[in-house]
Amino acid sequence: MTHQPVLSIQNLSVAYMARRGMVKAVRDVSFDVFPSETVAVIGESGCGKTTLALALVRLLSRSAKITSGKVIFRGGDHSAPVDVLRLNQRQLRAFRWRNCAMVFQSALNALNPVLKISAQVQETARAHGEHDAKRVEERALWLFQQVRLDPRRVYNAYPHELSGGMRQRVLLALGLLLDPQVVILDEPTTALDVLTQRTIIEVLKRLREEMGFALIFISHDLSMAAELAHRIVTMYAGSVVEIGQVNEVFYRPKHPYTLGLMRAVPNLSGGRAELVSIPGSPPDLIDLPKGCAFAPRCSYAQAICHEQAPPLEMRAPGHASACHFWDRLPVLRELPSSQEVG
């Protein structure tokens, strides 16, 4: 590939300082995001997805500390790559939203209740040096139309006058206001009904074609990830356990955790496959088990898994997995579930 990644996450580790010790919420995570590419980060609650996203724009709470790593951002052909983690406050403020917009999990509360949408649009633009209010308004109205909102009504409304789905779309439009190179969506549809989810997926697909931003998409909704993403990153206990092209990962998973995630959700086209949940619960992130973190819950685990942590290595072209027995996993497309995971 000739083009370079727009965002390159290198050996990123984040820990929360708790009374009992350091909660290692993100452990040595590395992956690249290329321009116009959509990467879905999947995993169960508490696996470090949101912490990872917050670390990328340095919005972690005070108790969190980035213990190692780099986040290299390449803005364009002319600008030199920068390490987001080394930006000063002024540069960071400029980086946020203009280069990298983050749409939050709870859109219901992500807008200031006492300011009109118009005021929040304008102040965002002003904060990044756009002082032509008329032009900003036109752009906002156009974006509202793109996300299928009634532009005039929404622009002049207060947040409480809009429904949850509308606020989510307002936030999405607001995120695209400054034409950022990277957009991070943290569980963008969790609180929404299925039809509104559909609308948002459609809107996202169309807008990323038109505007060409890279999308980092954090979700536990596998069907949505499958539909939107080009590549899948599976996280478990704070680290990446599998990464690859979407079809590769979903049809030929090379990590038992990804396989377990897929067997735990109903599949409309997958026939009468049995739903199997993953036994046990995620490990204590303060005191991680020796060896593979997933081993205690894994049906493929052998003695070596409890002794030695498997490295994240390429197992097929563009498809990496951190499992000693990756080649024992079934190929899902040809082999519907016949083997018990539990």
């Binding site: 807008l111 002049n156 936030l171």
Partner: protein
């Protein structure tokens, strides 16, 4: 006739008129105003009933006193009492009621018993402004100061600043309000001799005549320092601690995080996001506290001999000057209701979610 002319008129005018009226009734301002007027009317009516209808009412007591002390006949005493309350006791009760309301509307609150034949409204007009000035200033300073301190405490939570101010604030709010003036007089007047406390009686230097000269204004401010300081010290702790709690909960809100993510300047987030949202619940408390603070003016004005309405009320109670008491209570009620109305309207400007019913 009227009906035909109305139906002949273009329907659009009628429709416009109707929507205008509907909009008026739906508007927040109108409803708040109506509510305030209703409250005032209710208080006036209850006062009327209490004074005139209940056995052993102030009128009966006044009549008894006039008979026994001045040797008047019952008839004479009754007519004199009637003059003092400015009401005619021989009229039917509903006429008395409307006469009473009419008198109030004209500002006739009767005549003071203790300070011979001065109209109550004159006494109130002379002393109430000083109380409103000192209490209002004290409340304003303590509120603004408390908001600032509370916000800083929340931002620098668990710092030395937070712990120190928290301790002082809870200490100050737990001092009984009659002790604070004594401590202030002792420290400022006796120990440090910062102010000539003994000479500072009244609301301004008696040698000056009221005017808008800088000299007079300086004197007014000087004489108000101690009462205002007392209000501020007794209130600021409460405001600071409330604001700290409120700010802490707002700081955890997603929209503050999102504002940082949007790259807004720190100042903008501090004022329009954290400050504005965190102070909202405090404005409700402010409206509620206005009434109790005006009532609490008595003790502070007595200690500093600050010639406000509180001292007059104290004297009126001592002298059983019922018309004056009634007048002062009515004024306190009205100012509390008006302060509430003001706070209500202010709140509706600050929080759009309250402005329900206003047409877009």
């Amino acid at each position: 006739m009227v009906e035909t002319s109305l139906s002949n008129a273009p329907p659009s005018i009628l429709a416009v008129l109707r929507t205008r009226i509907e909009r008026l009734f739906k508007s927040y301002l109108f409803r708040s105003l109506l509510q305030a007027l209703f409250t005032i009317w209710l208080v006036l009516s209850v006062t009327f009933v209490l004074i005139r209808l209940m056995p052993g009412s102030p009128v009966d007591i006044l009549v008894d006193r006039l008979v026994s002390e001045q040797g008047l006949t019952r008839e004479e005493a009754l007519s004199q009492a009637a003059a003092m309350f400015s009401v005619n006791f021989n009229a039917p009760i509903h006429e008395q009621y409307f006469q009473y309301l009419g008198n109030l509307l004209r500002g006739d609150l009767g005549v003071s018993i203790s300070s011979t034949n001065t109209p109550v409204i004159e006494i109130i007009a002379r002393f109430l402004p000083w109380t409103l000035f000192s209490v209002g200033l004290g409340l304003l300073i303590s509120f603004v100061l408390g908001l600032l301190l509370g916000m800083l405490m929340a931002y620098w939570r668990n710092s030395f600043f937070d712990i120190a101010i928290s301790t002082v604030a809870s200490f100050l709010s737990s001092i009984p309000n009659y002790l604070l003036p004594i401590i202030l007089i002792y420290l400022i007047g006796v120990q440090w001799k910062l102010l000539p406390v003994a000479r500072m009686r009244g609301t301004y230097d008696p040698k000056l005549t009221p005017s808008l000269t800088p000299e007079f204004i300086a004197s007014v401010l000087l004489y108000a320092i101690l009462p205002v300081l007392t209000y501020v010290l007794s209130q600021v702790g409460h405001w600071a601690l409330s604001m700290k709690n409120s700010t802490l909960s707002v700081l955890g809100e997603e929209y503050v995080n999102a504002a940082h993510a949007r790259g807004l300047p720190q100042r903008r987030i501090l004022i329009a996001y954290v400050g504005r949202n965190a102070s909202l619940p405090l404005f409700t408390q402010l409206a509620l506290s206005v009434g109790s603070v005006v009532g609490g003016a008595i003790i502070i004005e007595l200690f500093f001999m600050y010639q406000g309405i509180g001292i007059r009320l104290f004297e009126a109670i001592g002298a059983r000057d019922y018309p004056l008491m009634q007048g002062i209570f009515l004024m306190i009620t009205v100012s509390t209701v008006l302060a509430n109305l003001l706070a209500d309207l202010l709140y509706s400007q600050l929080d759009p979610r309250v402005r329900l019913g206003t047409n877009k």
